[in-house]
Symmetry: C2
Subunit: 210 residues, 2 copies
DNA sequence: TCAAAACCATACAGTGCTGTATTGTATAGT
DNA sequence: ACTATACAATACAGCACTGTATGGTTTTGA
């Protein structure tokens, strides 16, 4: 070993990656989201994500200052995605309360506008981060208030409305937490019965299914 | 620095720890449980726990082969603690179905025999461990079947009984997941209303509170 | 009382992950 | 063609944590 000078120096390597394959900040955020959903915050490790993206950490530190920055980006992403749909339904003036409830419940049933896995991952995260916990609590509170309002519009006395809102919301969060993945057909079949129990028979009768 | 020979050798230190302060395997498991509850599996780090116990990792590796062994012990502990209470109530022959339901709901309300924080921590863990997820799913299933049976005993048709059991269970899991800590007084006040919604008015009327 | 068993402290080797520094390559705009 | 910009690769320093080796201390009990 003649004082081996042949050590590779930084940058001396692989040309590679023509335009199309290069990544943007969003690719990293998306991959981080995957990781978060799959294994919790602690699984959001930049070198593992880099491996997954088949790229090195050099790229990451170009797009982000540090790990904390992606995590912040994830929170932002979640807030902007999973808050709106409920509010929009609650605001509608063209339909009655039972229909609103139905529409909100369908957000869950259909899982299109609402990404429950992301939601669950945030809940997970909240267990170890005060900041996230606070944001989450605020949003849960908001969503429950929306349901409460709908129950009030249905004619339930305020106290009962509050509790029905809780039952509805807790129930759905629990469902996601358990991570039950039953087939869509079975779920749709059970759906009306859930509505009868959660919203009451009289109200459920006024909901029109498609 | 005269070739400083004064390097401490292993074992050359602190007498300390008279009987009472020495720890057993159980102390480690208990501390690990705390850590698990507070920050998830990834927070179960033996040197942090050691610091907390004001002892060194030497002790740990005396009691356990490695980290995996405490984790296994935690699973075992949880299984032996949080499974039984529900089954015992369900088996009772001296009370009717509504009373059984009440008793089971009270397990949750009073949080004595049932340690929900431990339960939630396991759910958390399950997200990153297939093995834990399986055990958890099995236990959730079991508990829901117990509720289903109670609803059947109440006279509900099997299909509705199944769904009511789900609503009850999901609801409670959701409640814990949200980590809501309202004062006991408010909870007790709302309790009857919850029962009316979850078990139905007719059944709730047959429950006697103390 | 003295030897074995139980328990604890320290050092050390090793690994996984973060963050920084530095240099290379591809593309757009001039 | 030249340069700025955007991106990527490599190396390196450093910390947090695991696991092992080893030698010490305390307790038990024959």
């Amino acid at each position: 070993m003649t004082t081996s000078r042949s050590r590779k120096r930084p940058g001396t390597a692989l040309p590679k990656k023509d335009r199309a394959e290069r990544l943007g900040r969003m690719d990293w955020i998306a991959a981080a989201r995957e990781a978060l959903i799959k294994g919790g915050v602690h699984a959001v490790k930049i070198d593992l994500i880099a491996n997954r993206l088949k790229i090195t950490r050099g790229s990451f530190y170009w797009h982000f200052k540090n790990r904390a920055e992606v995590l912040a980006a994830l929170i932002e992403l979640w807030e902007s995605q999973n808050t709106g749909p409920f509010e929009e339904i609650a605001k509608r003036a063209d339909i009655g309360a039972p229909e609103k409830y139905l529409a909100m419940a369908k957000l869950w049933l259909e899982e299109k506008a609402f990404d429950w896995q992301f939601d669950s991952a945030m809940r997970d995260w909240a267990r170890s981060s005060r900041a996230v916990a606070r944001k989450l609590a605020a949003i849960d509170d908001l969503r429950m208030k929306l349901f409460e309002q709908v129950f009030i519009e249905m004619g339930y006395p305020p106290y009962e409305a509050g509790i029905r809102a809780r039952v509805t919301y807790y129930h759905q969060v629990g469902y996601y937490t358990l991570g039950i993945r039953e087939d869509q057909r079975a779920r749709r079949e059970m759906f009306p019965m859930y509505l009868r129990i959660l919203a009451g028979d009289a109200q459920a009768d006024q909901m029109t299914f498609d």
